[in-house]
């Protein structure tokens, strides 16, 4: 077993964080305890987090703590058992291994189930990604608290129409994780992530609007609190006086935050798992046109700008760029080793742990900015935020019906704000009806997002 020999690999592992050698030890010992007939994969992680929440000008809560976790997968004769725990206490770790072994006895054998092997990794090498910024650990907590207080103060006084700040805060995490298995797969990843966000309350109490702003990055130095304030003010105040619109069909412009959710839905139906199980709206459509020619949809966890970037997937297989949709044609599904074996193909390095999925998907940006796009529409709806994504959409049936808030677009300009309305279509239809992708690209937790224009959706109101 090669796991457990710290080396200077591409992920910049050289510098040790407290507890890193320990998590390698834990993983190595478990893998070495495997009997000849069992395959074992162990994932162990440790992290440190800080969270500051501000309310009414003062610190409402401050959390500084560490977390840890372990997940063990055992495969015996094609039967898979899993167990996990949030503690690395030796007694609990031993119980996790025992549980995983016991669970494997009851699963049915699946000829395709099993751990990733170096042969399946082939020649693909892990990307050289530096996802760790030291200032997350070296910045004093008092400074982080001050940043959060400053943010809330700035937002409170930013605009006379903003009557209060519903929430404001700072959060960061520094995570180190190790994966190793009896098949010789090893992966080490460490990453930091920081964010600040706030939500503004605008207008009178009986006609309140809320608006959200956020900034994120890998280092504390990446944060831009001015953007948080500007967005929260803009988004809350421009909805003041919103009324219910009339029911109609019209072009819809999706704010990047909303576009991000829609992209995630499209991409989740491109996971080989629901495709192979007959639960995806794109199941039989590989090689077919599902979007206009200008649409390229890419999954790329090797892009360091993506918050979800990672050199390895959840099975320790190196990640790589996948062209999901090329010139509007559905070109690939996301695979882990199990779905790849089942489908007679190769893994795309897309394991999320137990099923394949995306970490860093985005559409290739277009050429016009949001202002230009809006200016070119004689009639439309600009959707600033949606609600009910979990209850109104299905990647099996394709149904898409969500609550929407935003502004009407009339003669190239934002007009009256609207609320208590829904927008509806179907997810495949929305892809086909894409008329434009904006030149803007913001990076969010699950990938990139641009302003999107969909030719027609049903707006329901009065």
């Amino acid at each position: 077993m090669a796991c457990g020999h710290p080396r200077r690999d591409a992920a910049g592992w050289g510098r040790s964080v407290s507890g890193v050698v320990e998590i390698e030890e834990i993983a190595r010992r478990i893998v070495e305890s495997a009997s000849a007939s069992e395959g074992i994969e162990v994932r162990v992680s440790r992290s440190r987090e800080t969270e500051v929440d501000i309310l009414h000008g003062a610190v409402e809560s401050l959390t500084v703590a560490g977390s840890e976790g372990i997940t063990v997968r055992v495969v015996v004769d094609g039967r898979l058992g899993v167990a996990s725990a949030s503690s690395l206490d030796p007694e609990i770790v031993a119980a996790v291994v025992a549980d995983a072994r016991d669970n494997a006895r009851f699963a049915e054998p699946d000829e395709f189930a099993g751990l990733a092997t170096p042969a399946e990794v082939g020649e693909v090498r892990a990307a050289d990604l530096d996802l760790w910024r030291e200032d997350v650990l070296t910045t004093p907590t008092a400074d982080k608290v001050a940043m959060a207080l400053d943010l809330e103060r700035a937002l409170s006084g930013a605009d006379p129409r903003v009557r209060g700040v519903e929430s404001a805060g700072y959060g960061d995490s520094a995570v180190s994780s190790v994966l190793c298995s009896t098949t010789g797969i090893e992966a080490r990843v460490r990453r930091t992530s920081v964010s600040m966000s706030a939500s503004a309350l605008a207008g009178p109490e009986d006609a309140t609007q809320t608006g959200y702003g956020f900034t994120r990055g890998r280092a504390v130095a990446d944060l831009d609190p001015d953007v948080v304030v500007a967005d929260a003010v803009l988004r809350s105040t421009r909805l003041l006086g919103a009324t219910q619109p009339t029911t109609q069909r019209l072009p819809v412009v999706l704010d990047p935050l909303v576009a991000r959710s829609v992209i995630s839905l499209w991409v989740s139906a491109m996971s080989a798992e629901p495709v192979q199980k007959g639960r995806s709206m794109f199941a039989d459509r590989l090689g077919e046109r599902i979007a206009p020619e200008f649409v390229d949809l890419v999954e790329d966890p090797t892009d360091p700008d993506a918050p979800g970037a990672s050199p390895f997937d959840g099975e320790g297989v190196p990640t790589r760029r996948i062209d999901l949709v090329r010139a509007g044609v559905l070109s690939a599904f996301l695979h882990d080793v199990t779905t790849a074996r089942r489908g007679g193909t190769v893994t795309t390095g897309s394991s999320l742990g137990s099923v394949p999925g995306a970490r860093a998907s985005s559409l290739r940006p277009g050429t016009r900015g949001q202002d230009e796009i809006v200016a070119s529409l004689s009639i439309g709806l600009y959707v600033q935020s949606v609600s009910g994504l979990h209850s109104g959409t299905s990647t099996a049936s394709g149904d898409f019906s969500v609550g929407a808030t935003g502004l009407m677009i009339r003669d190239g300009a934002f007009a009256e704000p609207i609320r208590e309305a829904t927008i509806a279509s179907t997810l495949p239809r929305m892809l086909l009806d894409l008329t434009e992708i904006g030149a803007d690209r913001d990076w969010m937790r699950y990938g990139g997002a641009s302003t999107l224009v969909i030719g027609e959706m049903t707006l329901s109101g009065s």
Partner: protein
């Protein structure tokens, strides 16, 4: 889990830098699950979560730290971190005398998860799969079945600087079946997922075969489903899942922490009419066996039945310890947290509308044109604006008092007080629905319920013109 004197010393350490309140919350939760997909038992899993969360309150600031290390040294370190985070001014030693108070259970549990063979659990999934695959309807057959089972036993121990020492053992069992059919216009899905705060005996009231039948029929009902209408219509909600309407329309808005942040449309409205006089909304943590049933909340406060709206008039909010303390009143037993490593906040338990007097069939017969929702799939609300949505997962058109065509999934949208004022008929039946409620990144088990009822007008987000 931890000795009384260790807890006492930990609380002492937490209060060393000053502070009005300190609490040690210990959690040890073990869960097991099994999943069947595409005819095969795919994966059995186990999970274990064990740790302590320590908070210290100084004025309006809470310092919080958590640890997976339950040794005295580990707890002390977390207590000191929490105290330092709360930046207390004063100081001095404070000794806390703990008085043990047992939690009064809402019901008894008969068959603990550990006492059931894994083979038995797996067999239940196979039985559900077999039944679901046999279900048929005109023009459609079940294409794909997935079923899952999950159970958990969660032990909690709470010790605080008011001298409270209490704990509880919470058992949960949930069984889910999901089916896919191929219909006129592509794939349609149906699922059913009951859960109760009991052990394996839950399957006596909810046999796997019956759950499978309901899920399969729900999917099959949409084989010929047409697009839902678009615009404002009367909506009838069949008993049970429609409780989500009240969970979203007023539930979150009546959580005192949101009220305190000025993020609730119900702020300052206690004593005012906020709904039709047919509406009485209750949040009851003591509804035996329901998914949100708790003997004590996660702050150790005994749960109780709280009337939030009585005959249309707002009577009270829901409270946790900190918010209640600020108002000089008692907590209502709604202080919950998903896990030991996050802070508690005000959460619902079992939220429902009380039954009325009308026969359910008469409600449909009385409706000229509208939509009859049999099952809902959850929703979302912005409590500051009051606008909420919830999704229909099985619904039919009602024309001239009769149920006619099945409809594709769509979302309904309304505004809290407006929607509740529009409740114009309330039935005399009742049922509940199992769900998970998310708030600020924390998910907790809840139930919602209602009798069959009609809302005179709600906006339906369909695609039919």
């Amino acid at each position: 889990m931890i000795d009384d004197d260790v807890l006492q010393r930990t609380l002492g350490a937490a209060l060393r830098t000053g502070g009005e309140f300190a609490e040690v919350f210990v959690e040890d939760r073990a869960g097991s699950s099994a999943a069947l997909d595409d005819g095969r038992i795919e994966e059995l899993g186990s999970s274990r979560r064990r740790g302590a969360g320590i908070r210290v309150v100084v004025g309006d600031t809470t310092g919080f730290a958590h640890t997976a290390d339950l040794s005295e040294a580990g707890l002390r370190e977390a207590a000191e971190a929490a105290a330092s985070a709360a930046s207390g001014g004063g100081g001095g030693t404070r000794t806390v005398a703990l008085a043990r108070r047992p939690a009064v259970p809402t019901h008894s549990v008969r068959e603990l998860p550990d006492s059931i063979d894994k083979a038995t659990k797996v067999d239940a999934l196979r039985r559900a799969d077999a039944v679901a695959r046999e279900e048929r309807a005109e023009g459609g057959a079940i294409q794909q079945v997935s079923a899952s089972y999950a159970d958990s036993v969660r032990h909690i121990l709470i010790a605080n600087s008011d001298g409270l020492l209490t704990g509880d053992e919470q058992v949960r069992t949930r069984f889910s079946v999901s089916c896919v059919v191929s219909g006129d216009t592509g794939l349609q899905t149906g699922s059913e997922s009951p859960g109760r705060t009991v052990g394996w005996e839950m399957l006596e009231d909810f046999p796997p075969e019956e759950i499978a039948r309901i899920a399969a029929q729900r999917a099959l009902s949409k084989v010929h489903a047409r697009p839902a209408p678009s615009g404002r219509f009367p909506v009838i909600l069949k008993r049970g899942a429609g409780g989500v309407l009240f969970h979203e329309a007023c539930g979150h808005g009546l959580e005192a922490d949101l009220v305190a942040r000025d993020a609730s449309i119900f702020r300052g409205r206690v004593g005012e009419r906020v709904a039709s006089d047919l509406v009485t909304v209750v949040d009851d943590g003591r509804m035996a066996r329901e998914w949100g049933a708790l003997a004590i909340d996660d702050e150790g406060t005994p749960t109780q039945r709280n009337v939030l709206i009585r005959d249309g008039v707002l009577t009270d909010f829901m409270w946790d310890r900190l918010r209640a303390r600020k108002e000089g009143r008692a907590s209502s037993g709604n202080g919950r947290r998903e896990r030991y490593d996050v802070l508690p906040m005000v959460r619902m338990t079992n939220t429902y509308l009380e039954r009325g007097t009308t026969e359910p069939e008469d409600i449909i017969a009385d409706t000229e044109y509208g939509v009859y929702c049999v099952a809902l799939g959850g929703g979302q609300v912005d409590p500051a604006t009051g606008d909420f949505v919830f999704g229909m997962t099985e619904a039919y058109l009602v024309e001239q008092g009769r149920i006619t065509a099945p409809l594709r999934g769509a979302q309904l949208i309304g505004n809290g007080p407006e929607a509740m004022r529009a409740v114009d008929v309330v039935g005399n039946d009742f049922d509940t629905w199992t769900g998970m409620c998310g708030k600020s990144g924390q998910s907790v088990p809840v139930s919602s319920g209602q009798p069959t009822l009609r809302v005179a007008e709600l906006t339906i987000g369909g695609t039919a013109a």
